[in-house]
Amino acid sequence: MKINHHEESGIVIIAPKGKIMGGPESTALHDLLHDLIEQKKTSVIIDLAKVDWMNSTGLGLLISGLTTLRKAGGELKLANVTDKIQSLLTITKLVTVFKSFDSIDEAVKSF
């Protein structure tokens, strides 16, 4: 799993790649979110276009990211969710919790 991120009009867009399966690389995402909160950057979009799959640990990562950012007064939104992950979010009914968008532009506008 690789984590690239950039900023667009004050909103941080994180674009992980591959599988989000937990393990040492997912601590990188966790650390990144904490760094962002310290820098008072709490509006975050996770672009899931390049994420093939995530397991329950990966899901836990998104959940803790969301709760951490919300506690800091921010928000974590998802963009470009693939079908497979969409079904995962549907089954777990996390669709009711996460705000998910079809494109980054839409996600950025929603802030």
Partner: protein, 750 residues
């Protein structure tokens, strides 16, 4: 001079010279240590004894024409007797320093009697002169005269014992020296009793034995003849004197050097080689020069002193470099033969290959380097996985130093492939803390410890005690050593990891135990339904569990199946908490409300840990044959109707334990005879075959539809067998948990 005298003289010179050489070596080792200083002084004075004795036979003051004849300066030779107070002083600081931390001003007083002795002998060796000092000129005044006379008589009385001392000073000081030696031996005895270290005890014992032996000889040779009429021949005195000095000082030198400072064998070999190379050089020079001058003499028919002087100048200029070269060649031939290195390497690999403790490894390596290469001090740096930093420690310093990752010197060491001199590393002076440590510690050589990709650590070596330079063979040996250490360190790491694995395994076992304890022994059984359940924790215990609980006295019961995210102990504990909370919330008016309460409680408990659970909870009322449920983010359980149609049990809310105050819906289904409910966790649906294909919901659905008329027990065993067939012999990554809930047919069939 007779031949025997000549031999004794040379032996005395050699003995004295050897002792003085050792004294220089020891003071060079470290002049800051009191023990070194006093040992050095003692050996130097002991060396002066035989040297003076030898000089005495060469330039005897009693020979006619000797410049020293009649001169009291001859008595300066008695300086060597200061050896005795030095020995006493030595016995105070060895085997442990009695003077450490104490301000003992009188300690130098032990030298006073001997200094006084020398003073007397040099300046007032003649008793007549002594008395002459106090003979005043006769004055005019009677009063003055009588005062002078009385002073003179008092002084004369005072000087009589002094005169006696001088006339019999040999006897007198023989006794004093004897007292000093006895004192020193006594102190050493007391010291030895206080010493616990074996090595030190041995050392003191050698010294005491040596001193005893030489004391005996000394008494026999020099004291007895002064006290009783005993005549010893000069030759015998020479022999006994030499034996005494050799045994006494030799034992001290051996013990001190062998155990305290250096490898004595190497020093002896080095000295021999040096003497030999010098002798060869001087010999060949003399040979060449005599040949050359006789050649010149025959050529010119007369002697040419100028040419001789020129030859001496040339020889002096060439002597040092040539001698150094010859020295090197001989050293390489005799001292540094390659088998030594092979032996060191072999013994080393045998010693370190089985060491599984890092500290022990460093101790062994340091010992080998100390004894075989005579390295004064060795430092080790090692990457510590826990602290995520390189830690540098030197045995002489108690506290290890954590190295900064950004230290430029550390980066430079990371690039090294072979042992390298510290001063050959370019970037060391770029504001490196480590370089400061190295400079303070006198680091000369850096040995990198690399495996294929990483710098595991490095060793630092100071210069050698012997003063030898690091050579090509040292470098080869250090490379071999570094390779072996890398292997050994890798072993240490693997061993540690296996320990961690073992610990994890223990934790896993405990978690598995907790998990198994959570599972009910038997599912509830009623007359119109049957239940079969199964749970296999995977090797990395997850947080799956299922449970049943009575919700009223009329046979209603609750059913829960859950999957806690994560593995191991934290997951097992969260599972236990969830189970406890559900049990307390079950049997209420609305299952959605019950799950909302469970969620709020668990979210508070597991706040911000990122842990959550998917959970399905349902309550079955056998009277109404209704099943009310709420699904908290769990895989949809399946309701297979008797006619083969199916329904997913979706209603509910999101996962448990992540978000507070989220709503949970509930829904109720009517269960008819032969209806089948199937609950499972993702361990079943995500079981993979070798082609990375998941068993999947569709296969589950297909199996259930095909086997819906079978008993719950048959379905349970059958689907597990089907998944095993599908996934092959592979180990399941996730827990597999399932519940088969079947409403009995009205005809009494399952």
């Amino acid at each position: 001079m007779s031949t025997s005298q000549l031999i004794f003289t040379l032996a005395y010179f050699a003995l004295g010279g050897g002792l003085i050489y050792l004294a220089v070596l020891i003071i060079r080792d470290s002049a800051r240590v009191r023990l070194n200083r006093i040992t050095s002084v003692m050996l130097f004075l002991a060396g002066l004894g035989p040297v003076f004795a030898a000089l005495g036979t060469v330039i005897s003051p009693y020979q006619s024409g000797s410049p020293l004849k009649e001169s009291p300066l001859y008595n300066l030779f008695y300086i060597w007797e200061l050896f005795f107070p030095a020995l006493l002083y030595f016995s105070w600081v060895f085997p442990f320093d009695r003077l450490e931390g104490k301000k003992v001003r009188w300690r130098w007083m032990v030298f006073v009697p001997h200094l006084f002795h020398i003073f007397l002998l040099v300046f007032v060796s003649d008793t007549d002169k002594l008395f002459g000092l106090i003979v005043f000129e006769q004055g005019d005044s009677n009063l003055l005269n009588s005062i002078k006379e009385s002073i003179t008589s008092v002084l004369t009385w005072l000087l009589i014992p002094l005169g006696l001392v001088i006339t019999s000073h040999k006897k007198f000081f023989s006794i004093i020296n004897l007292a000093y030696v006895i004192g020193a031996v006594s102190f050493l005895y007391i010291g030895m009793k206080h010493v616990t270290a074996d090595r030190l005890k041995k050392q003191v014992r050698v010294i005491i034995m040596g001193l005893h032996a030489s004391l005996g000889v000394y008494i026999f040779t020099f004291i007895l003849p002064n006290l009783i009429p005993l005549e010893l021949s000069d030759n015998l005195k020479f022999v006994l004197g030499a034996v005494m000095l050799l045994v006494g000082t030799g034992s001290i030198a051996w013990a001190i050097i062998r155990y305290q400072f250096l490898d004595v064998q190497l020093i002896i070999r080095q000295s021999l080689v040096y003497t030999a190379s010098s002798a060869i050089l001087v010999g060949s020079y003399l040979f060449a020069i005599t040949r050359f001058s006789s050649f010149l003499e025959t050529l010119f028919g007369k002697q040419m002193p100028i040419i001789n002087i020129a030859l001496i100048v040339v020889a002096l200029m060439l002597f040092q470099p040539i001698n150094a070269q010859i020295d090197n060649i001989i050293k390489r031939m005799f001292l540094r033969d390659k088998s030594d290195y092979r032996n060191i390497a072999n013994s080393l690999s045998a010693q370190i290959i089985n060491i599984l403790d890092r500290q022990q490894l460093f101790q062994v390596v340091e010992k080998v380097l100390n004894t075989s290469l005579l390295i004064k001090s060795v430092g080790f740096a090692i990457y510590d996985d826990e602290q995520k930093a390189y830690i540098y420690f030197i045995s002489s310093e108690a506290e290890p130093i954590n190295l900064s990752e950004t230290d430029p010197l550390l980066g430079a060491i990371g690039q090294l492939k072979t042992p390298t001199f510290f001063d050959q590393i370019d970037s060391w002076n770029l504001g490196s803390n480590l370089a400061t440590h190295f400079k303070v510690g006198g680091v000369q050589m850096i040995v990198p410890l690399n495996d294929r990709e990483h710098l595991l650590g490095f060793m630092t070596l100071t210069d050698k005690m012997s003063g030898f330079k690091f050579g090509y063979e040292d470098s080869t040996l250090l490379s071999t050593l570094a390779n072996q250490m890398v292997i050994s360190l890798t072993n240490v790491r693997l061993y540690r990891e296996s320990l961690v694995r073992q610990r994890l395994q223990e934790e896993m076992n405990l978690a598995r135990q907790i998990q198994m304890d959570l599972l009910p022994d038997t599912p509830p059984q009623g007359k119109n339904y049957s239940i079969a359940a199964h749970s296999t924790p995977s090797r990395t215990v997850g947080g799956d569990f299922y449970d049943f609980m009575d919700t009223d006295s009329k046979g209603s019961f609750g059913l829960v199946i859950a999957d806690v995210s994560g593995k191991g102990m934290p997951a097992a504990l969260l599972a236990a908490q969830i189970q406890a909370v559900i049990r307390s919330e079950s049997g209420g008016s609305d299952v959605g409300e019950a799950i909302a309460n469970v969620n709020n409680l668990i979210t508070n408990l597991s706040s911000s840990s990122g842990k959550y659970a998917t959970l399905f909870y349902g309550e079955f009322d056998p009277e109404k044959s209704s099943f009310e449920f709420s699904n908290a983010g769990h895989n949809y359980p399946l309701l297979i109707k008797a006619d083969g149609s199916h329904e997913f049990l979706q209603a509910g809310g999101t996962v448990i334990g992540a978000f507070e105050q989220v709503p949970y819906d509930s829904h109720s289904v009517k269960l008819d005879p032969n209806d089948l409910l199937f609950f499972y966790t993702d361990g079943l649906s995500e079981a993979m075959n070798n082609d990375d294909e998941e068993y999947g919901e569709d296969r589950i659905l297909e199996f259930l539809k095909n086997n819906r008329t079978r008993s719950s027990e048959y379905i349970r065993a059958g689907i597990l067998a089907d998944v095993d067939r599908f996934a092959g012999a592979g180990v399941e990554d996730d827990d597999t948990t399932l519940i088969v809930f079947k409403i009995n047919g009205t005809d009494g069939n399952d």
